[in-house]
Each structure stands twice: as structure tokens, then as C-alpha cells.
């Protein structure tokens, strides 16, 4: 029993510290009036252009495989794509990783069901700078940016916003 206590005490000492996530930072709506268009090849080699999503509500998510808060979000985004896809939601992922192989592995691991393309500095600058992750933009069916979500986002709040903006609720 004493030995068991020693083992348990040692395990407790090595347990990682828990951290409480800070609140989300919603930078506000209308940061950009019109979403800048871009075309990139997605991970499957298919052309991905933002203008092809006119008529849909787009959640454009900049992320990376080494970004913890990003990895916490993407399974929820995949679930939303399933739930709200028929109502006109389209999730689009842009990875800021250097290596696409890692992104392909993450795509499979997290069972992502939406297109992901590799981003670069030019694309970041097009959106006013992707100077920290995660970063998501909500783009309405007319191609206007109606929301910018930087850092750890309150996903309940974001989901409510998405539901309120769906083209076919």
C-alpha cells in the first residue's frame, strides 16, 4: 500500500499542469468590406477559389498543425460542415504550415470533410495579415466579411452566429 502511495505521488508530480483557456477574442464585424478573392490548389489538387462560394456562408479558417487551439477547433468545424452544409455553410481551411505532408496527415487524423489549401505570406497579407493563429473569417453569401475571430474563439458564440447567417436556415 505504501508503495502504491509512492507510485501515485510520483505520478502526480509528473502530471502536466492544467491551463484554463482564456476567453475568445472577437475582433468585430466588418473588418473588410469584401473578402479578397484567391485561388489555390487544395490538398487533393483541386482548384479552390473563394469566388466559387458565392451564395454560401463561408467560414475561412487559417490554422496549422502545431497550433493547439487550431487543432481543438477543426473537429468542431468538420461537425458543423455536416450539420449545416445543406443549409449553405462551407468551411474552407488554409494551413500556414511549411510542410504539406504534415497537413495531409492531420487532415486524415481529424477526418476533415472540407477543403484545405496551403497558405502563404501573400495570402495572409491579402487578409490583412495572418499574424497569429487560429484566425477565422466569416464571409456572407454576397462575399462580404462579416466576422473575424482571432485566437481561442468561443465556439458556441460562433456557431450561433453561423446559424443566424445561413442562407437556407
Amino acid at each position: 500500500m505504501a508503495n502504491l502511495r509512492i507510485i501515485l505521488a510520483a505520478l502526480c508530480l509528473t502530471a502536466p499542469a492544467l491551463s484554463i483557456a482564456p476567453a475568445s477574442s472577437l475582433a468585430g464585424d466588418g473588418i473588410l468590406r469584401a473578402a479578397p478573392d484567391f485561388t489555390r490548389a487544395d490538398l487533393k489538387g483541386k482548384s479552390l477559389s473563394l469566388h466559387d462560394y458565392r451564395g454560401k456562408l463561408v467560414l475561412l479558417n487559417f490554422w496549422a498543425t502545431w497550433c493547439g487551439p487550431c487543432l481543438a477547433e477543426i473537429p468542431r468545424f468538420a461537425a458543423w460542415q455536416n450539420t449545416y452544409g445543406a443549409a449553405g455553410l462551407r468551411i474552407v481551411g488554409i494551413s500556414m504550415d511549411d510542410d504539406s505532408a504534415q497537413v495531409v496527415r492531420a487532415y486524415e487524423k481529424y477526418h476533415l470533410n472540407y477543403p484545405v489549401a496551403m497558405g502563404d505570406a501573400k495570402l495572409g497579407e491579402l487578409f490583412g495579415g495572418v499574424l497569429g493563429l487560429p484566425l477565422s473569417y466569416l464571409i456572407d453569401p454576397d462575399g462580404r466579411v462579416v466576422g473575424r475571430y482571432q485566437g481561442e474563439t468561443d465556439l458556441k458564440q460562433l456557431e450561433a452566429r453561423i446559424k443566424s447567417l445561413l442562407p437556407r436556415p
Binding site: A21, G68, P69, M96, A121, L131, G132, L133
Partner: protein, 155 residues
């Protein structure tokens, strides 16, 4: 017999845990909170220091696409220190420097508590014997805590 087995098992478990504590932690598991507060520098203070000579060696240890969009003037991109390759690039960059070289490292890739790079870089420099290492405290990200505050930026 049962007692002996239990004793052996507990000794083995204790030794394993002790060894895992002594082995340098992998870069990905170093929390930014492990950096002593005394070794942090606030953005406003670093921005003020940039106006004075001599300026420290400033190294960006985050992701390349962030550096390519915006970085602190005269800072150098080294590599993402959360990855072994980036950590090796950092070690190579400082290999010939005097141990009392003033070095500031920064990342800003993501919220401080989730940064995979900054603590790995800090602990690597300390392990190499550098005595004047400061870490730029970026609470949320480089955009919000540096660029948007109007501090100097090169693009």
C-alpha cells in the same frame, strides 16, 4: 513473494519516472509558463530598447510565414523551435556567439499558453550557457500585441 514483486515494480516505476524527469523534455511539451518572469520582456520595453544602441540580437523562433508577413526590424528568422529541425537551426545560429551575448527571442504564433516554440528556444539557449536571454512576452499573437500597437515592423 508478492511483497517482493510489488517492491520491485514500485522501484522500477519510480526509477522510470525519475529518469523521465531528468531527460530533457521534448520541445513540444515545454510550456511557456516555465520561463521565469524575470527573463520576460514586455513589447513596450523592447520597442523602446530598439531606439537605443546597442540593440540585442533578436531571433524569431516561430513560423516562417508569420515572419515573412511582418517581423521586428533587424530580427532574424531562425526556425520553429518547437520542432527538432528549428531547434537545431537555433543552436547553429548561436554556436559561435559569446555566452554573454544579449539575445531576445520571440514567436507570437498563437496565444502564449499554447506557444509550442518559445519555451523550447529559451531552454535550449539556457542549456547552451547563454546568460542574457530575454523572451518577448506576446500574450495573444504578434499581430495584436506588436503590429497593431504601432511598434516598429519590417515586412
Amino acid at each position: 513473494m508478492k511483497h517482493k514483486t510489488l517492491k520491485a515494480l514500485s522501484l522500477f516505476a519510480f526509477a522510470f519516472i525519475l529518469l523521465s524527469q531528468l531527460t530533457p523534455a521534448s520541445a513540444q511539451h515545454e510550456p511557456a509558463a516555465s520561463i521565469p518572469a524575470a527573463d520576460l520582456i514586455q513589447p513596450a520595453d523592447l520597442a523602446a530598447n530598439l531606439k537605443k544602441a546597442p540593440t540585442p540580437l533578436i531571433l524569431q523562433v516561430g513560423f516562417r510565414k508569420l515572419y515573412a508577413q511582418a517581423h521586428i526590424p533587424d530580427s532574424e528568422y531562425v526556425g520553429a523551435a518547437g520542432e527538432d529541425a528549428g531547434l537545431e537551426l537555433l543552436r547553429n545560429r548561436v554556436a559561435k556567439l559569446a555566452k554573454d551575448t544579449a539575445i531576445v527571442i520571440y514567436c507570437g504564433c498563437c496565444p502564449w499558453s499554447h506557444c509550442p516554440n518559445i519555451a523550447a528556444a529559451y531552454h535550449a539557449l539556457h542549456a547552451l550557457g547563454f546568460t542574457r536571454v530575454k523572451v518577448l512576452f506576446i500574450a495573444d499573437n504578434f499581430g495584436d500585441n506588436w503590429v497593431n500597437l504601432g511598434y516598429p515592423v519590417s515586412r
